[in-house]
Symmetry: C3
Subunit: 214 residues, 3 copies
Amino acid sequence: MAMQTWESIGSIAWVGLELLATAAFALSGIVAAGRKHMDVVGACVVGFLSAFGGGTLRDLLIDRRPFFWVEHQSVLVGVLALCVLGVTFMRRRHIDLTEKAILWPDALGLGLFCASGLHLAASHGMPALVAIMMGVVTGAFGGVLRDMVCNEVPALLKDHRPYALCAFAGGCAYMTLQWAGAASLSCALACIGLTTGLRALALLRDWRLPSWHD
Amino acid sequence: MAMQTWESIGSIAWVGLELLATAAFALSGIVAAGRKHMDVVGACVVGFLSAFGGGTLRDLLIDRRPFFWVEHQSVLVGVLALCVLGVTFMRRRHIDLTEKAILWPDALGLGLFCASGLHLAASHGMPALVAIMMGVVTGAFGGVLRDMVCNEVPALLKDHRPYALCAFAGGCAYMTLQWAGAASLSCALACIGLTTGLRALALLRDWRLPSWHD
Amino acid sequence: MAMQTWESIGSIAWVGLELLATAAFALSGIVAAGRKHMDVVGACVVGFLSAFGGGTLRDLLIDRRPFFWVEHQSVLVGVLALCVLGVTFMRRRHIDLTEKAILWPDALGLGLFCASGLHLAASHGMPALVAIMMGVVTGAFGGVLRDMVCNEVPALLKDHRPYALCAFAGGCAYMTLQWAGAASLSCALACIGLTTGLRALALLRDWRLPSWHD
């Protein structure tokens, strides 16, 4: 019984963190829509893609149904409501502020979604490297879809700052621990800690990836 | 027997309207390909995406097979033939004319495809809001894919004219009537009437969606 | 036994050609990433899409799992390693050279992938025209995804040089021979020969597709 209590506290905390990260991802879409002067439909579509795009792409690739937003319609309602509120109340001067404020919950979301995506892919029988890729897709490819629909080269591919690589490192930690026989929860916590920690360090120290030579 | 006769007349009329709407959607793709000076392959790809992209995306999301264009190969042949004819016979001065002429069958197609997409999604057990979204995707996201492949920000997201919102309103009408116990056909007719009517009004009155404040 | 020996030599040759073509496709993605000054993540994503995008899109459309790169993890490792090596060792002056050097293995890959995609689609019960389209998608749509993620109008749609059309002609040859009762292998060889031959002729003679008239 005590074990179950701990588990339910843990799963409530997990859900709370996931909602926070989903909201941060959606806000990054609203910010992108605002920069492109989109209308309320644009904000909803870009916010939806940023929040749910990575997980939906992963589910399409590993052939998993129902999608998260089909199973949890209330989260879908929340994200769409956030998008409508964003267009209604956000002023142009709020956009830069929002972008800075979401950097930290976004880093947390990268770790959380990477771990949960990797766990799902591994439990669908994907081989190790593919499972790690699915973790990276879950955490990072909502942003790729957001940038593609906004007609930009995705920032993930060209801004020379570590983002997907942090998730890749976290995913490698997950698979190594699992291979060593660790429990699912320990693997997930290590993955989240390493991903989010590396991303935070990359932001604080302004790390850059090497570029092409002339 | 009389009932069956009515039903078969109804389904023939339905098929006729769907073909008209599909042709209008394909023409919007040919027009977009013409503006970008694409070749015959480009016209076929963009025309195909405009005509079948929304329904195919919906089918991918609700995991339904076979696609419409796999089941009805003759419609696929028709759309591709239209694209080849478009490149062969359409002159530059025809492009603007075509764009204006297809506004009305396009509005009809938005309603028809929204209703049929919603019906399919609901009969696949999707919850209400998701079913409405699938209706909007069916009617409106062929155009999003068309604009993305043409390297434009999709007009749906940024032209501040109601398009997806008309389909959304029609979808809400469908689900409300269904919840109240109305027959499938009444729901579909209400959805088509409201969607196409709102879109026509939006075109005639030049309605605009509110924009971001500075 | 002798038959089996021939078959195993044939399948080893086939695998070798497929690996060569996959490497050429991946290199076209690395070249595109280099032109856009992307980082190592960008090179891996664009290289992956160029090499596996067409086949993955086909598998999504015909609902086939597992994907090639899930089943053959070693090829996935090879392509990603090639992308990392490309960013590390390729200089700016290598880009044009690489682009020219891969034109010929790329033409071979177009034929090979078209034949294998068509074979898969036909064996999944797709009707003739859809199967041919799936062959074209397998051979040519990795490049479309590559250009879309690089924020360009896909070259396939607008460069007025026959590429998809060569694969389409090869696909028609495949289906005609199959309909006439030829063995799978003969159909495939005819498809590869016609596709690659036409593409090579188009490159050597600088063929152009007709354009829109004013």
